[in-house]
C-alpha cells in the first residue's frame, strides 16, 4: 500500500502527502554524497511513527521507511551527529489523563541501514513497521516537560542538552548511549511561569554556547559555567518561535516569532537587530540558515508559505567576486560583466506556496546545499531546490 503520492507540481521539485498534523522535521547527516539525507518526520497523535524519507536526487526517487515510536506523540526530533542510526525525540506521554513531555534517545533498527533503498511500492515495509530501540530516557521528573533535545554540533554524540520547562540540562551519554547522566544544568529564574520554547546549540566557540528562547526573550548561555551571557529582552514583539546560528559567522543569530518577523542579531550588540524582515503574514515557525551559503535563509510560517531570502548584506560571503581585469579584453564585455556582478541586494528569492496549511518546519539538506524541505500541518512534505540562476550566481 502506498502512503505517499508523488505530485510533481510546477515549481516544486517534489511534494507529497504524509499524515496530517505533522510537526517535527529533522535532517541527519548522510555519508554518501550522491544521496540526499534521510528526513525524519513525525506523524500524528494516536499512532506516532517516524518516517525516514530518502530522496535520490539524480533519479528523483523517493523511498520511505516507517518506524514506530510507541512511547507517544513526537514533538521534536534530532539526529545524532556521530551515529546516523541514533536519534533523540521529545514526546508526549499520556498516563492517567496526564500529558507529560519526555525526552529519550533511540536507535533505529539495523535493517533500516541496510534496507533503505526499497522501492516505495514495497508493501512489506509499510505493513510491518519496526519499533525503535530505546537507548535511554533523558528524564528527570524534577525538571518538568522537555521541549527539545539538542545534540552537540559536530560532536561525537555523547553530549546532549535537553530543555525542560525552565531548565537547560546538559547530559553526558555513554559511548553506547545507553546511559545518560546530568553533568550540569542551568535554570531560568524570574517572575511567572518561565518556559523555554526552543533552543539551539551554537557551533562556534568550540560548541560552548547555547541560545534559548522563552516568550519574547532570547538568551545566550555559556555551557562551561552554565551561566547566562546575554539576554535580548523583547527580541520579538510576541513569542519567539525558533532560532538558528549562522554557521559561518560566529556572532550572528537568526530568530523568528509570532510578530511575523525574522530578525538577525549580532549578539555583541543586542540593543538592535542587524536586520529585520517582515514578509510573512502570520507567525514564523521556523528559520534556517543554509549550511554552506549563509546568505540563503529559509523561513516557514503558519501563513502556509515558505520564503527563501537572500541576505547578502549580512552574509559571510563578500559581495560578488573580484574581477580579474586581465581576463577582460573587450571593453563592452567588461561593462556587461561588471553590471552582472553588481552586489545583490537583500531580497526574497522566491515564495513557495505549495502548502495548504501552516508550515511548521523547514530544513536544508545537509548533503546538498541547494536542496531543502518543508513540512506543513496537513502532512505535505515539499522538497525544493534553490533556483538555478541564483545557484550559479553564488557559485561563479
Amino acid at each position: 500500500m502506498t502512503e505517499e503520492e508523488l505530485i510533481p507540481t510546477s515549481s516544486s521539485l517534489l511534494s507529497f502527502s504524509l499524515f496530517p498534523c505533522c510537526r517535527p522535521l529533522s535532517v541527519s547527516l548522510s555519508r554518501s554524497p550522491s544521496l540526499s539525507p534521510p528526513l525524519f518526520l513525525s506523524p500524528p497523535l494516536s499512532f506516532p511513527q517516524i518516517h525516514i524519507i530518502d530522496f535520490d536526487d539524480e533519479n528523483n526517487i523517493i523511498s520511505k521507511s516507517v518506524l514506530l515510536h510507541q512511547a507517544g506523540e513526537i514533538w521534536h526530533i534530532s539526529a545524532s551527529p556521530a551515529d546516523k542510526a541514533v536519534l533523540s525525540t521529545c514526546y508526549n506521554k499520556t498516563s492517567e489523563s496526564r500529558v507529560v513531555t519526555c525526552g529519550a534517545v533511540w536507535r533505529m533498527p539495523p535493517e533500516w541501514e541496510s534496507g533503505s533503498h526499497e522501492s516505495p511500492d514495497d508493501p512489506h515495509n509499510s505493513h510491518n513497521p519496526q519499533n525503535l530501540e530505546l537507548l535511554c530516557h533523558l528524564d528527570n521528573s524534577a525538571h518538568g516537560n522537555a521541549s527539545s533535545v539538542l545534540w552537540e554540533p559536530m560532536g561525537d554524540g555523547t553530549r546532549v542538552i535537553s530543555l525542560a520547562d525552565n531548565h537547560a540540562l546538559l547530559w553526558d551519554l555513554t559511548e553506547s548511549s545507553t546511559q545518560a547522566t546530568i553533568s550540569s544544568s542551568a535554570t531560568l529564574e524570574g517572575k511567572g511561569q518561565l518556559k523555554f520554547t526552543s533552543g539551539k546549540w551554537g557551533p562556534h566557540h568550540n560548541c560552548t554556547q547555547l541560545a534559548t528562547a522563552n516568550d519574547t526573550a532570547i538568551r545566550g548561555w555559556d555551557l562551561r559555567t552554565m551561566s547566562q551571557i546575554y539576554c535580548i529582552e523583547n527580541a520579538h514583539g510576541q513569542l519567539v518561535r525558533d532560532l538558528d546560528f549562522n554557521p559561518n559567522k560566529q556572532y550572528y543569530l537568526a530568530s523568528c516569532g509570532d510578530d511575523c518577523k525574522v530578525k538577525f542579531w549580532d549578539v555583541r550588540n543586542i540593543n538592535e537587530p542587524v536586520k529585520s524582515l517582515e514578509e510573512h503574514s502570520h507567525w514564523v515557525w521556523s528559520v534556517r540558515y543554509n549550511h554552506s551559503h549563509d546568505q540563503l535563509v529559509l523561513t516557514g510560517s503558519s501563513d502556509s508559505r515558505v520564503i527563501l531570502s537572500n541576505m547578502v548584506s549580512i552574509s559571510s560571503e563578500p559581495f560578488g567576486h573580484l574581477v580579474d581585469d586581465d581576463d577582460l579584453s573587450d571593453g563592452e564585455d567588461n561593462h556587461q560583466y561588471d553590471k552582472s556582478k553588481e552586489p545583490l541586494q537583500d531580497s526574497i528569492i522566491s515564495t513557495y506556496e505549495e502548502h495548504e496549511d501552516s508550515v511548521y518546519a523547514v530544513e536544508w539538506s545537509s548533503a546538498d546545499p541547494w536542496l531543502f524541505a518543508s513540512l506543513s500541518y496537513d502532512g505535505r512534505l515539499v522538497i525544493n531546490r534553490v533556483p538555478r540562476a541564483l545557484k550559479y550566481h553564488i557559485l561563479l
Binding site: 502512503e3 502527502s17 499524515f19 496530517p20 498534523c21 497523535l45 496526564r98 503558519s302 502556509s304 495548504e356
Partner: protein, 769 residues
C-alpha cells in the same frame, strides 16, 4: 488806324514790356508752358503775334458779318485798353510830382544841417583844448594823492599786523576761534614774506605762539569730546585751516566718534524688549552713526579743495578710513542685533519682531544713502533674512510641539473619561478628532498669518528678492507647511514602530484616531492648507516644490499603516486572551461543558466595543451578501467537522488518506486566508482583520495542545458561540466559518478521545449562555 501802325505800336509796346519784365526779374522761363502756345502768330495776346498773318487768317476764314463783329469787338477792346492806360498814366504822374517836391525839400534841409555841424566841430576843438590844459595843471597833485592813499592802506595793514597778537589774544579770551583763525590766515602770508625784518619777525613769533596756544586749545576741546557734534566739526574745520594733518584729524575724529558709539552699543546690551532694543539701536546708534558719517563727509570728503590741500588727495584717504570705521562698528552692532534676535524665541507675537526688523532695516537705508558703497545695508538685509529663516524654523518647531502636545491631550482625554464614566469615552472620539484637526488647522493658520507679516506691503524688506521668491516658496511652503505635514505623517508612523516592540504602549483608540486624521489629511486638509499657503503668499515656484499628490500619498500611507497597526494591536489583545485561555487550561481533564467559557463572552464583548469604536470614525463598508439565516449556516459547517471527527476513531495508518483528502479538497475550494493583510478604510474591513488574527491564533494554539473528550466538546461550544456572534462583524462570513471549522477540526485531530457533542446540545448551551 492801319494795320502797320498798329503793329508798329504793338512792337514798341512789347519792347517796353520786355524792359519792365527785365527790370522786375521776370524772365521768359516762368512761362515756358505758354510759350509753345504763344508761338502761334495768330494769338493776339502772344508775343509772336503777326498782324499780317492774323488778318489774312481772318479774311480767309470769316464771313463779312463775322469780320464786322470782330472789328467791333477789337475796337471795343482797344478803347478799353486806351482808357486803362490813360488812368494809369495819370495816377503815376501825380506820384512823380509829389516825389520831386520831396527831393527838393530835402536838399534845402541838408544845407542847414551842414552849417550846424561845422559849428559843433569848432566847439569840440575848444573843449579839447581846455581839458588838456586842466589835466596838465592837476597832474602833480593827482600823483601825490595816489601815493598818499597807498601809504594809508599800507599803514592800515601794518596796524592790523601790529594789532594782530593783541587781537588774537582777545579772540582767544572770548573763544572766538573762528575769527582768530581767519585773522591769522590773512596775516600769515605777509608775515611769512617779511619775516626777515626783525619787527615783523617779532609779530610772527607772537602770532605763532598765540596760534599754537589756540591750536592747543582747539585740540583740547576736540579731545575732551564733551562738546556737541556741531562744535566738534567746527573745531575740526578750524584745525584743518591751521594746517593740522588731515589724516591725524580723521583718526582722531573717528576714534572720538567711536568712543561715543561704543557707549551707545554698551547701553544697548542692557535692553530687554526687542522692540525697545531695536528702537534704541536705531535712535542712538544708527542715528549718531549717520550724524558722524554726515559731518565727517562734510568735513573731510566734500569740502572744496584749495591750495596745497588738493594735492594730498584727502577725500580718498578719508573715505577709506570712514568705510573701515563704519564696517567695524556695524559688525559689532550687527552681532549684537543678531544675538538679540536669536534670543527672541517666543513665537507668540510675530508682529513685534517684524516691526523691529522693519525698523532696523529701514534705518539702515539711511546709512546706504549716506555711504553708497558700503556693505552695511546688504549685511543688514542678510540679518533680516537670517532672522526670517530662523523664525520659520522656530514656527515649525512650535507647530510640532503643539501637535505633540495636542496628541498628549487627546491621549489623556482618551484615558481619563474611561476611568471616570466608562460610557463617555467612545462617544467623544469623533469630537476629539474634530477638535484635534480643527486646533491643528487653526494653529497652522495663525502661524501662516504670523509669517505673512514678513511679506506685508508696508514692510521695507518685503520687496527684497528673497522675501518675494525664496521666502514664500522655499521658506514658508516647503520648510514650514510641507515639513509640518511630513512631520505629522512621520510621527504618526512612529507610533506604529515604537508600539510594535513594547506591545501596545499607544492606546489603540489613538491609533484609530490618527489614522482617520491622516486619511482626512489625504482627502482634503493637505490640499486646503497648500492652496491657502499659495494664495496667501502668491508663491511663484522657481524651484521644484513638493507636489500635493506626493504629500497626499504620504498621508495615505501613514493612515494605512496606522490602521493596519490598529488591527494588529486589537487583534493581539484578543489573541492574547484566547491564547492564555487555551494554554493555561488542562484540556485532558476538563469537565463536561455546561457553559460557554467566559473568555469567549469577553472576546465577543471586546469585538463589539471595537466595532462601536471603529464605527465612530469609519464608514460601514461593504460586506458580501450573506444568507438570510446565518445561524442555520452553522449546521453545514459543523457537519463537515463532524464528518472529520467521525473518521477520527478509526484512525489507522490507512485512514489519514481519507481525512487528508477531505481537508485538502475543502481547502482547494476556499481561498487562502491572508491573516495580517492590509485593511481598507472601513469598519467591516477593520473588524474582519481583527477577527482573522484572533481566530488564527486560536487555531494555532489549539494545535499545540492535547484534548480529552470534554476538551473537544468545550471547544465545539466555544466555536459555536463565536460563530453566533462574530459573523455580523465581518465582510465575508464564510471566512469565520472556515476558520472556526478549522479550529474544531484541528481540535478533533488533537483529541485523545474524539467524541463530539451533539449539535442540538451545543445550541442549547450557547443560547443559555
Amino acid at each position: 488806324m492801319t494795320v502797320r501802325s498798329f503793329s508798329c505800336r504793338f512792337a514798341r509796346k512789347r519792347r517796353v514790356h520786355g524792359m519792365l519784365k527785365l527790370y522786375y526779374g521776370l524772365n521768359e522761363e516762368g512761362k515756358t508752358v505758354d510759350q509753345a502756345e504763344s508761338m502761334d502768330p495768330c494769338d493776339i495776346n502772344g508775343p509772336h503775334f503777326d498782324p499780317e498773318v492774323y488778318l489774312n487768317k481772318l479774311r480767309r476764314e470769316c464771313s463779312l458779318g463775322e469780320l464786322m463783329d470782330q472789328e467791333t469787338c477789337m475796337v471795343k477792346q482797344i478803347r478799353s485798353l486806351d482808357s486803362d492806360m490813360q488812368t494809369l498814366v495819370y495816377e503815376n504822374y501825380n506820384k512823380f510830382i509829389s516825389a520831386t517836391d520831396t527831393i527838393r525839400k530835402m536838399k534845402n534841409d541838408f544845407k542847414k544841417m551842414e552849417d550846424e555841424m561845422d559849428c559843433l566841430s569848432t566847439n569840440m576843438a575848444s573843449i579839447t583844448d581846455f581839458s588838456a590844459r586842466i589835466s596838465g595843471t592837476l597832474q602833480d597833485q593827482h600823483a601825490q594823492i595816489t601815493k598818499l592813499s597807498g601809504v594809508h592802506t599800507l599803514l592800515r595793514k601794518l596796524q592790523f599786523l601790529f594789532e594782530l597778537p593783541a587781537r588774537l589774544n582777545k579772540c582767544l579770551e572770548l573763544q572766538a576761534y573762528a575769527q582768530a583763525v581767519s585773522s591769522h590766515r590773512r596775516a600769515r602770508c605777509v608775515l611769512q614774506q617779511y619775516s626777515h625784518m626783525p619787527s615783523f619777525r617779532g609779530i610772527q613769533d607772537d602770532c605763532h605762539a598765540i596760534m599754537d596756544k589756540l591750536a592747543q586749545e582747539l585740540r583740547q576741546k576736540f579731545r575732551d569730546g564733551g562738546s556737541s557734534a556741531k562744535d566738534l566739526s567746527e573745531c575740526v574745520e578750524l584745525l584743518l585751516q591751521l594746517d593740522e594733518p588731515a589724516e591725524e584729524l580723521c583718526d582722531k575724529f573717528l576714534s572720538h566718534a567711536q568712543s561715543r558709539l561704543e557707549a551707545d552699543l554698551l547701553g544697548l546690551e542692557a535692553e530687554t524688549d526687542i522692540l525697545e532694543f531695536i528702537d534704541r539701536g536705531c535712535n542712538e546708534f544708527v542715528s549718531s552713526l549717520c550724524l558722524v558719517i554726515a559731518s565727517y563727509q562734510e568735513l573731510f570728503v566734500n569740502r572744496p579743495q584749495e591750495g596745497e590741500l588738493a594735492s594730498k588727495n584727502i577725500p580718498q584717504m578719508a573715505i577709506g578710513k570712514l568705510h573701515a570705521f563704519v564696517d567695524a562698528l556695524a559688525t559689532r552692532y550687527f552681532s549684537l542685533v543678531e544675538r538679540r534676535i536669536q534670543e527672541e524665541k517666543s513665537v507668540g507675537d510675530n508682529s513685534l519682531l517684524v516691526r523691529a526688523l522693519d525698523r532696523f532695516h529701514r534705518r539702515l537705508q539711511a546709512v546706504a544713502k549716506l555711504l553708497p558703497g558700503s556693505a552695511v545695508p546688504s549685511q543688514g538685509t542678510e540679518i533680516v533674512v537670517r532672522a526670517a529663516r530662523e523664525r520659520i524654523k522656530q514656527y515649525l518647531a512650535a507647530l510640532q510641539s503643539f501637535y505633540l502636545n495636542s496628541l498628549t491631550d487627546v491621549r489623556q482625554a482618551l484615558a481619563a473619561p474611561r476611568l471616570a464614566t466608562g460610557k463617555d469615552a467612545p462617544a467623544s472620539l469623533p469630537e476629539l478628532l474634530s477638535t484635534l484637526s480643527a486646533s491643528i488647522l487653526n494653529q497652522i493658520k495663525s502661524v501662516l498669518a504670523s509669517v505673512h507679516l514678513f511679506t506685508a506691503k508696508d514692510i521695507t524688506f518685503s520687496n527684497k528678492p528673497y522675501f518675494k521668491g525664496e521666502f514664500c516658496s522655499h521658506g514658508v511652503r516647503e520648510s514650514l507647511v510641507v515639513n509640518f505635514i511630513k512631520f505629522v505623517c512621520q510621527s504618526s508612523r512612529q507610533f506604529c514602530e515604537s508600539a510594535g516592540d513594547r506591545g501596545g504602549s499607544t492606546p489603540p483608540a489613538l491609533l484609530l484616531l490618527l489614522s482617520r486624521l491622516c486619511l482626512d489629511y489625504e482627502t482634503s486638509t493637505i490640499t486646503y492648507i497648500l492652496t491657502l499657503t499659495d494664495e496667501q503668499f502668491l508663491v511663484q515656484h522657481h524651484s521644484p516644490v513638493t507636489a500635493v499628490t506626493a504629500l497626499c500619498g504620504e498621508a495615505r500611507e501613514a493612515a494605512q499603516k496606522l490602521l493596519n497597526h490598529y488591527v494588529k494591536v486589537q487583534g493581539l489583545i484578543i489573541s492574547q486572551m484566547l491564547r492564555k485561555s487555551v494554554e493555561t487550561r488542562d484540556w485532558v481533564n476538563t469537565i463536561e461543558p455546561r457553559n460557554v467559557r467566559a473568555v469567549m463572552k469577553r472576546v465577543v464583548e471586546d469585538t463589539t466595543s471595537i466595532d462601536v469604536q471603529v464605527g465612530l470614525l469609519y464608514e460601514e463598508g461593504v460586506r458580501k451578501a450573506h444568507s438570510s439565516d446565518s445561524s442555520k449556516r452553522t449546521f453545514s459547517v459543523y457537519s463537515s467537522s463532524r464528518q472529520q471527527t467521525r473518521y477520527a476513531p478509526s484512525y489507522t495508518p490507512s485512514a489519514p488518506m481519507d481525512t487528508n483528502l477531505l481537508s485538502n479538497i475543502h481547502k482547494l475550494f476556499s481561498e487562502r486566508v491572508e491573516i495580517f493583510s492590509p485593511v481598507e478604510f472601513n469598519k467591516v474591513s477593520v473588524l474582519t482583520g481583527i477577527i482573522k488574527i484572533s481566530l488564527k491564533t486560536f487555531l494555532e494554539c489549539v494545535r499545540l495542545r492535547t484534548f480529552g473528550r470534554y476538551g473537544l466538546q468545550q471547544i465545539q461550544v466555544d466555536c459555536h458561540y463565536l460563530q453566533m456572534y462574530l459573523w455580523r462583524f465581518v465582510s465575508d462570513e464564510n471566512l469565520v466559518h472556515f476558520l472556526l471549522d478549522e479550529i474544531v477540526g484541528s481540535t478533533a485531530h488533537r483529541c485523545l478521545d474524539p467524541a463530539p457533542m451533539e449539535q442540538s446540545v451545543i445550541e442549547v448551551i450557547c443560547e443559555r449562555g
